[in-house]
């Protein structure tokens, strides 16, 4: 009985937290932080329990107001949504602990209250997107997500944040309205907005009104593609992610783009189904887009002098990897994509957070200024190096496993050309990540004497970084721990 209520209780906890922060304005800020931490821990535990429950007992279908599924809004907790809500709440917990050091880079102290309100509403909307089984409800949550993501960029009161936030909000809104247009077209042809019901009737609708479904598919892919920064629509990403505060960049890059990709997975696999996709030759288009993204994202990243911009372009390339796995339309490809979503989430979080610490203390964002940084800030730079090596795909890190999985999945489908692209993109990764590590650790011996002075950063900033590094390595050594969960998540989408 109570288990069925857990998803909505998760959402209500976030909402409660967001509403309670303005009321606690006069109390010391520490109380708010501790309360938020408790909420996040509770949500993490409950979503973890849901993950165990749906994998071992049964899938939870929950309808609001006690109406039948056809007439109301349905929350569907299957292995897919349970897995990713757990991952999101875990990553959010790590980022939250880091940002609670009261030293968040770029955010004025007065804005902390609003920042945490926005953060919790952001988490609420992401949970809602993953849990809901209704296309229009997804739209409502997508709008909440897009307004909060823009707001946590523009909360850093700098000149260039406003312009990049404006561009982001425009692109976002074009994306949402295109998605809504797609929903309208699907509703027109089938008469449903519930995903399960749509997927049951979409084949007959496709044979009766093919144009309807084709245009809907196009609008939805373009809309979600803009939001997920799939290659030709990625122009907003580097600006937005580099001008945001570091914790926001970590959230945006590691979680938010992935959520849009997961919506896209839901739309492609659950709503339209594989038959229509294959008939429309959608996989080929997506594969070409992902290949271009993998190459060009890395090429652009090489040209950047700003570290955060470089990481932004690297995200474009990584979205390409995930899209490659998704568009193979096979079980192995989907599993690889899911694994890469998790491992890239960990690595990007580690990269942005460690860079954030470096920027916060050294006030530099140029790649060239990383000279000898490894001796000044060993922990931050060490974590950066581990995560960067993971990005390159070195063995012993989670990045290696995800690239291995992707390669196997590509070979299974006999797309040898994409294996070449994969390897080429990895080599390009080496070109822009390795020099930073070499610059930081191996050059300029004049910094050696400073080995003894270890940075005195607060524990709340160091602990999450170390924890992330351990997780990256652990995932690289024992990928089989989470493989069963990913497999069952992928199997809910490909029966």
């Amino acid at each position: 009985m109570i288990i069925e209520q857990l998803p909505i209780i998760n959402l209500l906890l976030f909402l409660f937290m967001a509403l309670i922060i303005p009321l606690l304005k006069r109390k010391p800020f520490k109380i708010t932080l501790i309360l938020g931490f408790i909420v996040l821990i509770l949500v993490f535990i409950s979503s973890g329990y849901l993950l165990w429950y749906v994998n071992n007992v049964e899938i939870i279908s929950y309808t609001f107001g006690g109406h039948e599924t056809r007439f109301g809004i349905e929350f569907l907790v299957n292995p897919f949504s349970a897995l990713f809500t757990t991952v999101i709440s875990g990553l959010a917990l790590i980022i939250y602990v880091y940002s609670s050091g009261d030293k968040t880079e770029g955010i004025e102290k007065k804005e902390f209250g609003r920042y945490y309100v926005l953060l919790f509403i952001l988490l609420l909307s992401m949970f809602g997107i993953l849990y809901t089984n209704d296309l229009f409800n997804t739209y409502v949550f997508i709008e909440i997500l897009s307004i909060t993501t823009c707001a946590i960029i523009s909360i850093k009161k700098k000149k260039d944040t406003y312009t990049s936030a404006f561009r982001y909000v425009m692109m976002n809104e074009i994306g949402s309205l295109s998605y809504l247009f797609g929903v309208a077209l699907i509703y027109m042809a089938t008469g449903f907005t519930n995903i399960t019901l749509v997927s049951e009737s979409i084949q007959t609708a496709f044979s009766a009104y093919p144009f309807n479904i084709i245009i809907a598919l196009g609008f939805m892919i373009i809309g979600l593609g803009i939001k997920a920064a799939i290659f030709p629509f990625h122009i907003w990403l580097p600006d937005a992610h580099s001008s945001a505060p570091s914790t926001s960049s970590a959230i945006l890059s590691a979680i938010v783009i992935k959520v849009y990709l997961l919506v896209m997975v839901k739309v492609l696999y659950s709503v339209f189904g594989l038959d229509i996709l294959v008939e429309m030759n959608i996989p080929i288009i997506l594969l070409i887009l992902s290949a271009t993204a993998m190459i060009l994202g890395s090429v652009f990243a090489i040209a950047q002098k700003d570290v955060k911009r470089m990481l932004g372009y690297s995200s474009v390339a990584q979205v390409g990897y995930i899209l490659l796995g998704i568009s193979l339309l096979s079980l192995a490809g989907l599993e690889a994509a899911f694994f890469h979503i998790i491992s890239h989430g960990l690595m990007k979080t580690a990269l942005f957070l460690s860079v954030g610490e470096i920027i916060f203390y050294k006030k530099t964002r140029k790649v060239n200024d990383f000279d000898g940084m490894g001796f000044i800030m060993p922990v931050a730079m060490g974590v950066f190096s581990i995560a960067a090596l993971g990005m390159i795909g070195l063995p012993l890190t989670s990045g290696f496993i995800s690239k291995l999985n992707l390669g196997i999945a590509v070979l299974e489908n006999n797309y040898v050309i994409f294996l070449v692209v994969l390897i080429l993109s990895s080599l390009l990764n080496v070109i822009y990540y390795l020099p930073i590590i070499i610059l930081a650790f191996l050059r300029n011996e004049k910094y050696h004497y400073r080995m003894t002075t270890i940075e005195h950063t607060p524990k709340t900033m160091i602990t999450p970084l170390i924890f992330l590094a351990i997780l990256i390595v652990a995932l690289g050594l024992f990928p089989n721990v989470i493989m069963p969960v990913i497999e069952s998540a992928a199997k809910t989408l490909i029966p």
């Binding site: 209520q5 909402l15 309808t63 609001f64 107001g65 006690g66």
Partner: protein, 142 residues
């Protein structure tokens, strides 16, 4: 704005506009309208008041604190009703099965929690509109 005609006409119009807005909110479940429309009408009338009589007087009518309470209050009522649904009937936002008094079909006092929700939405929309307007017009230069 120091025009006596505008001021007097505004004084006359605003009560009607607000009464109309309240009417629309309360009759949301038996006639066209509802929380969004009524809330927007009330919000617009408050904006009109602020425009004509100036920011200071407008503030007296609808202070910042009040709008803050109204904003979180709207969602709070919503969530509270939903949680009552969870406790009574086992699902969020359950209406009839949670035992809300249903009333007679077609009356104002009917529809279980629908009028309450409409009032909550109305409060929320009205306070949001007026506070957004206030924030926009007296923003502070950095």
């Amino acid at each position: 704005m120091n025009d006596i005609i505008i001021k007097n006409i505004t004084r006359i119009v605003i009560p009607f506009a607000q009464a109309y807005g309240i009417f629309i909110i309360l009759n949301g479940h038996i006639s066209p309208g509802g929380g969004f429309a009524g809330g927007a009408i009330i919000g617009t009338s408050l904006i009109l008041y602020t425009l004509v009589f100036g920011r200071e007087k407008g503030k007296k009518k609808f202070s910042h604190k009040m709008s803050e309470i109204a904003e979180s209050g709207g969602i709070m009522i919503f969530v509270l009703i939903g949680v009552i649904g969870i406790i009574m009937a086992g699902s969020f936002l359950a209406n009839q099965s949670a035992g809300f008094p249903q009333g007679e079909l077609g009356n104002i006092l009917s529809g279980g929690f629908i009028p309450i929700l409409m009032i909550a939405i109305g409060i929320k929309v009205a306070s949001t509109m007026i506070s957004l307007f206030n924030i926009l017009i007296d923003e502070e230069k950095v």
